[in-house]
């Protein structure tokens, strides 16, 4: 008696659907069968004509040129914001200014995977040892951008008891971007300046260490 009433209940619910399960299974099966009949041949690679031309060519370059090209075209910045300049960095990374146009949209949360430290904001003495450690955890080659007055020189807080007057006391800096805060355009300009700097580096000469 009880079993029968349960089964009745299930049937009642299935009737209330617009498409019953049997109907959905049937349409799915039809679509799969149609696809199996239709897709018999592999689709040709639309770029396959390229291979013929390139295979007949030799490209010559220097090691420096190809290494620097690959390094500067894919800089991975570390996802670290010190103070309010970080919001300009976030705006630069977002859709309106779009840092990915320069091949650096992948902000890494781990210093081990990053090669650019954008020091955006005020560095306090309490934070300084930690920040130094973050820099040291990054793998070579690595670059540092000092963004904004505070990172360059301590800025407004230079004479404060708690602020580092310039992050170049702690870590070596490649590019300085002035402003309080710099606009996203300025950060993009600084990034291009860094790319230009990388372009002219040489693997034979090791980067100067502080």
């Amino acid at each position: 008696m009880e079993k029968e009433s349960t089964r009745m209940g299930i049937e009642d619910i299935s009737k209330s659907y617009i498409y019953p399960d049997t109907e959905l299974d049937r349409t799915e099966g039809e679509a799969i069968e149609a696809a199996r009949k239709l897709y018999k041949q592999p689709i040709k690679d639309p770029d396959s004509w390229l291979e013929e031309d390139i295979s007949r060519n030799i490209l010559l370059t220097t090691a420096d040129a190809i290494i620097n090209w690959s390094r500067r075209s894919s800089i991975w910045p570390i996802n670290s914001g010190l103070a309010c300049c970080a919001f300009e960095m976030i705006a630069t990374a977002a859709s309106r200014f779009d840092i990915s146009r320069f091949g650096m949209e992948i902000f890494r949360p781990s210093p081990r995977q990053a090669d650019l430290l954008i020091a955006c904001g005020t560095l306090t003495w309490k934070m300084a040892p930690t920040y130094k450690r973050i820099y040291e955890q990054m793998a070579e080659p690595k670059w540092v951008i000092a963004m904004g007055s505070c990172a360059i020189s301590g800025g407004l807080f230079r004479h404060s008891y708690s602020v580092v007057p310039g992050i170049n006391l702690i870590i070596p800096v490649d590019i300085y971007i002035p402003g309080c805060p710099p606009r996203p355009e300025a950060l993009l300009h600084g990034i291009q300046a860094l790319q230009n700097k990388i372009k002219h580096q040489s693997i034979a000469k090791k980067k100067e260490q502080s």
Binding site: W125, K126, H159, S160, Y161, S162
Partner: protein, 148 residues
């Protein structure tokens, strides 16, 4: 909006309860002697009708000749507030009784006042620096603090 209690009424009661402990009172501010701050705070917290069960903040001001500590007391029950002040003239070793045993929220704020202004709170369970690091020399919000 919290109602500011008129200080004159309270000061009359305090004067009767703790003779000679008041320095001055005006508006909604009462200034008391530092040695009697704990007794007065305890009285204000526990007396029915006052019931200052919430300490909004503690801060300190350096007036060069003396330090002034400001306590803003609020009663959540009656929705009224009072500003309690005390003054330390000793610059070398200013000491005030702690009110942590009355309001636990005073713990971090007294540590901050100690850290930046150098005022010691007697009876504080853990009086050490909170913002600046261990080994920092001096108390930077004092007017006579010199930056190296």
């Amino acid at each position: 909006m919290t109602l500011a209690l008129p200080a004159t009424e309270i000061s009359a009661k305090l004067e009767a309860q703790f003779p000679g402990s008041l320095v001055e009172s005006s508006g909604n501010t009462i200034v008391v002697k530092p040695e009697s701050i704990f007794q007065i705070a305890s009285f204000l917290k526990n007396t029915p009708g006052f019931d200052f069960d919430y300490l909004n903040f503690i801060t300190a001001v350096d007036y060069n000749t003396y330090f002034e500590l400001v306590y803003y007391l609020v009663s959540l029950e009656h929705n009224h507030g009072l500003i309690l002040k005390t003054r330390c003239t000793d610059r070398e070793n200013p000491t005030v009784p702690s009110v942590v045993s009355l309001w636990n929220g005073a713990n971090f704020q007294e540590r901050e006042v100690y850290d930046l202004m150098g005022i010691k709170f007697e009876g504080h369970p853990n009086l050490k620096r909170i913002m600046l690091w261990d080994g920092f020399q001096g108390h930077p919000l004092r007017k006579d603090y010199k930056i190296q």
